[in-house]
Symmetry: C2
Subunit: 252 residues, 2 copies
């Protein structure tokens, strides 16, 4: 395992990818810097087109999921007078089933570095069976919003979503948010209050807000609500810590 | 969905199953009462033999997983002088892929009440791909121990287990513990400190301890360590609340 991870790490380093990713801006509301970090993570690479992007709609998405997707997606690009287009307040974050695919050049790397490993939330090929979600980021407001449809394979209490599946989605959203703010991070603490059980099949809105960034620490809060915002299902405080991916890969 | 849940609930009620499950003893160390609650949940039903029990060893289990399994399993039954056998200090908890199968008569109920829903931690048929685990309970010490082998489809940070997958296993262990103590429960709070990332493929020990039971509230702590106990990966405090399953099923 260690040898395999070392090989992956050296693969990244040879291609000058993750070693160049540094913690982001110290002031969280600096949207230009956030966009730079975002770009350094390769999230806008042209290579994306060559992977399946799980954040795009599929036939399993219900009416509510599609309505909310369109609501945010329509704000990712705005048309100026004269017909010219420019970036809007929201950005849709693409989503893949291997971490390596997030890096610039990940298309080739994923062929060179073969692995059975798959991102936990994207490990099932059956559309609608587990986690269907899409993340949007608003750099001006320092907010992340995910639209999440809970599939039938996520059961915990009968007819309801497993507490661990909810925690997984929360970790995914706040983790993506922290990564945009500060480059590679690991979860240090999740404190989740489960207020109302979530029926299987529900469409939910997960919204995270940056509280503060202190050195290597990033503090974020997160709420999971029903799609119309009327029911609060969970509220969470999360702490992330910036890391060097090289160290993580090498287990040091 | 509500109609479907109502049907399931009425199915349970007709058969006099979950409606008869009441919160357990107020004194947590009353092992006889705990065993009664345990039995009321149907966990020792002869119907078990008719389901696949996911807590039994399969070909994906590594050396460390098997060593620890045998260590606890060998303490589930003790031989007295004269060759007679009796229950030991530990009990292995069977594990199924549908909640309904945990109830007495679940074999028949699962055929009557068709559903695509599957327990989140047991939704993958490929042995070793996701969550491989077995839980043991010690009523005298009021402790639950799970042996957990993390499969390649649980990836979060590259080469490591997703924070949500760890939270899922923690929720599973403390949730099972709370259920034994107090009958049906829902998670009210999970406060998880992630101290050391877990490499994919690791075998881990998850140990939960009952702190106290106050009315409907059950307080439990939980630690995830390496299989030899030398590394502390996470520590958690958890709060569960006793519920009526009928209410949960009917969404009230």
């Amino acid at each position: 395992m260690a040898r395999s991870l070392g090989r992956i790490c050296r693969g990244f380093q040879r291609l000058g990818l993750l070693s160049s990713v540094q913690p982001g801006p110290s002031h969280p509301s600096s949207s230009a810097s956030v966009r730079t970090t975002f770009s350094m993570l390769g999230l806008k690479s042209s290579f994306f087109a060559k992977h399946r992007d799980f954040s795009l709609p599929n036939s399993s998405w219900g009416t509510e999921m599609m309505r909310l997707y369109k609501h945010y997606d329509s704000q990712c690009e705005v048309e100026l007078e004269g017909g010219e287009k420019q970036e809007g307040p929201w950005q849709r974050l693409p989503s893949y089933n291997r971490f390596i695919k997030y890096a610039t050049g990940g298309h080739y790397l994923s062929k060179i570095i073969q692995s059975k490993a798959r991102l936990f939330t994207r490990n099932n090929k059956d559309a609608g069976a587990t986690f269907e979600y899409v993340l949007f980021f608003n750099s001006e407001e320092q907010k992340c919003v995910a639209i999440f449809q809970a599939g039938h394979l996520l059961e915990g209490p009968p007819g309801h979503v497993h507490g661990g599946a909810i925690a997984t989605m929360i970790d995914t959203v706040v983790g993506a948010h922290a990564t945009i703010v500060s480059g590679p991070v690991v979860t240090a603490n999740l404190n989740i209050n489960y207020r109302k059980p979530i029926p299987l099949g529900s469409t939910l809105v997960i919204e995270s807000s940056l509280v503060k960034k202190e050195g290597k620490k990033i503090f974020i809060t997160c709420k999971v609500t029903s799609s119309d915002g009327s029911k609060l299902h969970t509220d969470t405080t999360a702490l992330f810590v910036s890391i060097s991916v090289s160290n993580l890969l090498l287990g040091s």
